[in-house]
């Protein structure tokens, strides 16, 4: 077993032996934990994974089938329409025990199995945190002078570029937390932004956390402009930046988390160009 602690949750991992995986997870490794919150078992299978017997709920994106065994969360990925599965994830009802398997499909055009394994654990993590203390919000996040700030927007808007400007101009008291998928947790209703090993295309993530002081939603505009938005609008926009689970109970938990964020933390809409002025606008209101 290898042990990790991510956003306050302890994981015991069995079978995750890829060098790539261990390297990406290194900053979150801890010494052995007697009673881990979550135990995850992994195996690389030699053959495609047969379709399971569970009750089918829904297919999303044409390749992922969700199932229910009456309490747990189960999904299998197909590598092509009507094929057998190349990935399985079976999470028990309280997300304490997880069984996973991958079938290597690199030869037929899939991503390398070690990369898929790492990303799969990222998905498992989303379930584990939703069942406990928070959720992942798609955003580039920083800690500036002790204040956690997340910058959220659809991919391609320039989140990472914007936070890189903070590092460039205010690097002495700014630290990146995670460039793509930080976890928001709550401690006595106070939200915190935490690093996770999963940071999208970049490898920019740090194992730190900071109290969340502002949520900034980015939009590319010819001029810089910032305004605080209503709770209504904040809910609606944030819903676009979180994973919407296929399971009703988890969707409800997601909505409760969004509610906690928008009622505790100011949410701003920043129309911005890619320059220092946009950074300074945000600095002034924090």
């Amino acid at each position: 077993m290898n042990y990790y602690k991510i956003a306050g949750i302890t994981f015991a991992l069995s079978g995750f032996e890829y060098e790539y995986f261990k390297d990406r997870m290194k900053a979150y490794e801890v010494s052995s934990v007697p009673t881990p919150d979550v135990t995850v078992y992994y195996e690389q299978t030699l053959f495609p994974i047969p379709k399971p017997e569970y009750k089918h709920i829904v297919t999303t994106g044409g390749f992922r089938d969700y199932f229910s065994d009456g309490g747990g969360y189960i999904f299998y990925d197909k590598f092509e329409k009507d094929s057998e599965a190349c990935a399985k994830v079976e999470i028990n009802a309280d997300a304490s025990v997880v069984h996973t398997a991958l079938y290597d499909i690199e030869d037929i055009g899939g991503a390398p199995v070690d990369v898929r394994c790492f990303n799969m654990l990222g998905e498992v993590f989303r379930y584990c945190i939703l069942k406990r203390t928070g959720m992942v919000v798609h955003s580039s996040s920083i800690c500036h002078a002790g204040n956690g700030i997340i910058f959220s927007a659809p991919s391609g808007t320039g989140k990472s570029t914007h936070t890189s400007l903070w590092m460039k101009y205010y690097g002495e008291n700014t630290q990146m937390i995670n460039d793509d998928c930080p976890a928001i947790t709550f401690d006595k209703e106070i939200p915190y932004v935490n690093g996770t090993p999963w940071s999208g295309k970049t490898n920019i993530n740090f194992n730190i956390s900071a109290p969340l002081r502002a949520v900034v939603l980015l939009q590319q505009k010819p001029e810089n402009h910032i305004q605080r938005i209503s709770v209504d609008e904040a809910v609606f926009r944030l819903l676009h930046e979180v994973t919407r689970p296929a399971y009703k109970d988890l969707m409800n938990q997601t909505l409760s988390n969004i509610e906690k964020i928008v009622t505790s933390t100011p949410v701003y809409l920043l129309g911005c160009t890619i320059d220092k002025e946009a950074v300074d606008l945000v600095r002034r209101i924090i």
Binding site: I57, H240, T243, A246, N252, L255, E259
Partner: protein, 87 residues
């Protein structure tokens, strides 16, 4: 008519939000916010209801004429229909 099971209505921080579940990809069709009236009608549509059921509920809850209630209900149902929310 009835709303599909795959849509969840929730009151979040004072606003009524309808969210589709089971479509975690980039497809955001079907997400909407509702006012009080919309939320009441949407809530009723968890069960099979007729236009008349909904119109009667409008009339007993709000101070509107029968004609207004019927028009509002039709417009609302039409919106849900176009968003693919009815089964």
């Amino acid at each position: 008519m009835k709303v599909k099971d795959s849509f969840v209505l929730r009151k979040i921080a004072g606003s009524h939000v309808v969210v589709p579940i089971g479509s975690e990809t980039a497809d955001f069709n079907g997400m909407m916010t509702l006012n009080e009236t919309g939320a009441m009608l949407f809530g009723m549509l968890n069960k099979d209801r007729s236009l008349e059921d909904l119109t009667n509920a409008m009339l007993s809850e709000y101070d509107v004429s029968a004609v207004e209630a019927e028009e509002d209900v039709k417009a609302f149902v039409d919106t849900l229909e176009k968003a693919g929310m009815l089964e």
